[in-house]
Symmetry: D2
Subunit: 147 residues, 4 copies
């Protein structure tokens, strides 16, 4: 998986432009080749009706983690778009913080498949709460899509 | 599809408790038996890095629309949890507003399948931007899950 | 949705080369622009352990129906590959025959999204048993992939 | 993950009743608690139009592998039904044999999530060709569903 030497800065710059991440209170934790971790504080701002984190908020950080894992292996001029994803909610998302870790499963010429695992941390212990699989498309030479 | 006489109030009360919907600026539009529509204003608060609406925000309103469509057909004592969903992003989500319309596909004893279509409105015209399929589980007698 | 004038013959020729369709006893029923129907006789050859049709056989005809619906809207030199699909099994697949109807949801430049509904016919009545959503990729100029 | 002492025999007996597995030429390879492997010979009987293994045949062994991985962790009186699955086709499935390995991701009271990886073996080397995620439902006390 090639990517570019400055992959971590690319991801950080792009993440900073994702308004939704700031809105829900998510932040970029770690960026490695083929792997990206995003953290979300559990607050009422991201809740569903029973007080758990809304599946949409869980999906948001999982999708970004998977997409940016994909971006770390892209050539400099290519961006990445989510074509589709599927997420299983394994357990109610509760605790203090969620960690979404995205990893590249397969990087093809035009299609990249990535997964993200989401864990909830409570009193220092983590347990899995969601599993996402995403199909990403490498985009080259389309206006406004270079990350 | 039975549901309860006060299904619209049930959905409205529950929606009002979803902190994420307020955080991203989504609001409940219409509630009919087996069908629920949610509206989201397109603002930088819900953007991804290219300025389109983030797939996570699109998923959030689509998941809520599908889940609440399911709730309209549930008995009074039953709540609904999303087991999993899959979403295809059909086109970049841009424009002034997004409309997510959830509809029940099949209501079984314990499993409800629902779909949501998301359309983007721009200059008075709507075009489809996403299609979600969700598997919901009817929950009875579990503490804190009655909607 | 353009496609080619001889789309129905293209689909029929390609279908005849799908060994799996013959092996499980599936046949092509109707081919229209953007819509293809496949029929499968319910026999013990396609069963799972409880005597219903195996989810894999249901998926096989649904995937072919969705894929060929996509092929009807492709230019002459392009083939189609399934990138991924998701299927919900709505009810046990029993009866005399299954009908899988694939329809194009959105045909983009490189990505086509299609759905297939599968119905089971029993004593002249049909009921839905499965719903599939597929992401297809248009392939041009790759050896051996022109349908 | 509990399951029953005779889980391997349970899976073998049930697999032997899946007509589809015999029809496509699949056989049960290994059964461990929470993990099941199924093998499929690559022959024209399971092909699609380009000579690769049909996505439906790949899905069939992956679904059975995931489902039986789930069955190994079920109590004696419970059976398992596939509620839905999603599969990504990572590469054309070609070679001499396919191996589908199903593993339980999470076993809840009523819902079990399992994944299956499919690899193609060619000249003694294996490469991944598909990744499936399935939602299974534990069924108790329903006529005819005890495996």
């Amino acid at each position: 998986m090639p990517g570019t030497p400055d992959f971590a800065e690319r991801v950080a710059r792009s993440f900073a432009r994702q308004g939704l991440m700031e809105t829900i209170g998510a932040r970029l934790a770690t960026v490695r080749p083929g792997e990206v971790e995003i953290v979300l504080d559990v607050t009422p701002r991201v809740s569903q009706q029973h007080g758990f984190v809304h599946a949409g908020a869980v999906s948001s950080i999982a999708d970004s983690a998977a997409g940016y894992a994909g971006l770390t292996v892209m050539p400099a001029e290519a961006g990445v778009l989510t074509v589709e994803f599927k997420i299983n909610l394994l357990a109610p998302a509760a605790g203090e913080r969620l960690f979404a870790t995205g990893r590249v499963v397969r990087a093809g010429r035009s299609i990249v498949v990535a997964q993200a695992e989401v864990e909830a941390e409570s009193a220092g212990r983590r347990k899995p709460v969601a599993l996402l699989t995403a199909t990403l498309m490498a985009i080259q030479g389309r206006d406004g899509v270079a990350d």
